[in-house]
């Protein structure tokens, strides 16, 4: 276990020393500080939210408490950004330890390739999760202290966002381990994030491109065989605030209730991608 912890620790350190995670930490801190300084309840009515003195909304927006609506927006926008920034920050961590001259050093150590892979993956995930937790807890405290809103759903979103990233990262990991190229891993991850969004709304766009049942079935299969990023994000969003307005719900694609189904499908598909990565890694000559 000591060896695995060593790899985990080294991976976190590598991610930090390369500067990307530090940059994310600084960005997260700045956002938290801006909200900590700028947001407050109006002293006039103790209901209206002010942001640097500008009245931003009242208690109710689209059938939802204004602070919840704000938190939902913060979560929704941040989770999308985290997927992409996380991809840039960690896509290189898998190919980098497979470089000639580095792979030999790791592979000749007394730990199995499976454990080496898992430790490396957890190290990369740990670096991103630490940022997600820092940002979420920071914003949760700001909204709690300044507005008196202690949203446990928003706090829980740190876990769901990290889990979503773990599923999303499977694409970059598989690409990175096969091609040993950071560039390809980033391109594949980015392409998948676009594809995932399109698959989520396939009934509205992709199905209309070609009215063919086989094509529609193929898109359905692809949707269920790959991590469902938007579905996971929207499901976790219901824990923060429920949109009572059906039109608004349809527009934002947020379901009425939290559901584990996208997490289950994504776990299975990401699990299969990770299993493939491990299988390839275990058999490859370095």
């Amino acid at each position: 276990m000591r060896a695995e912890l060593g790899v985990f620790r080294y991976t976190m350190l590598e991610a930090v020393r390369k500067g990307t995670l530090i940059a994310y930490f600084i960005i997260g801190t700045l956002i938290i500080l801006v909200f900590a300084v700028g947001i407050r309840l109006s002293p006039d009515d103790a209901v209206t939210i002010e942001f640097f003195g500008t009245k931003m909304g009242v208690r109710e927006i689209q059938g939802m408490n204004a602070p919840d609506f704000w938190l939902l927006q913060l979560y929704s926008n941040a989770s999308g950004a985290i997927m992409l920034f996380g991809l840039f920050g960690t896509a290189g961590l898998i190919p980098s330890f497979l470089d000639k001259g580095t792979a030999e050093l790791f592979l000749s150590k007394p730990l199995s390739r499976t454990n080496l892979f898992i430790s490396r993956f957890l190290g990369a995930l740990g670096g991103i999760s630490a940022n997600i937790i820092f940002y979420t807890v920071g914003m949760w405290l700001v909204f709690g202290i300044k507005l008196g809103v202690w949203s446990w759903g928003f706090l829980a979103s740190a876990f769901f966002t990290s889990y979503m990233f773990a599923c999303f990262y499977s694409i970059a990991v598989l690409s990175g381990i096969i091609t040993q190229s950071t560039g390809v891993a980033i391109i594949m991850g980015f392409a998948f994030s676009l594809l995932s969004g399109m698959l989520e709304t396939r009934e509205f766009i992709l199905f209309r491109i070609w009215d063919n049942p086989v094509y529609h079935k193929a898109l359905d299969v692809l949707y269920y065989m790959t991590p469902q990023l938007d579905a996971m994000k929207n499901s976790a969003g219901t824990l923060i605030g429920k949109l009572n307005n059906p039109a608004m719900r349809q527009m934002t694609n947020i379901p009425e209730q939290f559901t584990f189904l996208p997490y289950l499908y994504s776990t299975l598909s990401a699990g299969a991608l990770y299993a493939l990565s491990i299988l390839y890694f275990k058999r490859k000559d370095y």
Binding site: G6, L105, S108, P110, D285
Partner: protein
Amino acid sequence: MVVVQTEQLSKVYRSGLIRRSEVTALRDVTVEVNSGEIFGLLGPNGAGKTSLVKILLSVSFPSSGSATVFNEPLGSLSIRKRSGYLPENHRYPTFLSGLETLMMFGRIHGLESRALKDRALALLQTVGLKDWANHKIKKYSKGMLQRLGLAQALLNEPDVLFLDEPTDGVDPMGRKEIRDLLRELRNRGTTIFLNSHILSEVELICDRVAILNKGQVIKVGTVDAITKKQDEYEFHLTKHVTKALCEKLKKILPGIQREGKLLRVVAKNNKEMNTVIDFLRAKNILIQSITYRKSTLEESFIELIKAEQA
């Protein structure tokens, strides 16, 4: 006791999905490395030296054949637990210092943190990098990186040490220090498996060597046995042989050469040898010793490779 044993080990690298190509790196390699010896693996570039070490440490996998290290089959974690490895062209994370690098690889080796720092500092001292312990390794020269690599390979006090071109880029003083260190390790019982193309160094420290060419072992033996010239002897005499005397000897046995008190003789059998001895004794020249004539390892290596190519 045999530490490393390979049996008909072969490795074929395949690449290309559509246009398949194959490169045979090792072909039926059978070697044994005994406990406590320094074993040198020699060969021209692309002979398969690095492939063999990588297979022994499960960095690559054999295509056929078998091998054991400490009687454990390849892939066993206990092999890697008891081994140290300095790969060729190793690359360490440049954002770490020398000490941090050793600490990090020590942890990955499963070593305890408390003892690890002392061990790392002691090794940095041994390889002459103590003053550079806290400098980022991106500032290290090639030779310093080699020394750091050696320290890394020694972190777990290995029973067998695999070194791939350990003195590559190291200055002459550093090379001597590394040779001394390897001798000291051998004296303490460590088995050393050395890949090198610097034959003069191999000659100085290796107990046995194997010569590999195009993936095949073409010769295995002690350095003495490999460098020994068949039918060629050196007579060490008490006084100089004059030119005239040498000419007379050449009439009896052509191919005789003199060099001060040394006489080089090519004798195919005992009769020819005794003819020379009788001649010298008749001239009252005392013979101090007769030894086989030896070439340098480099000469023997080149001869063997040329013979193989022919």
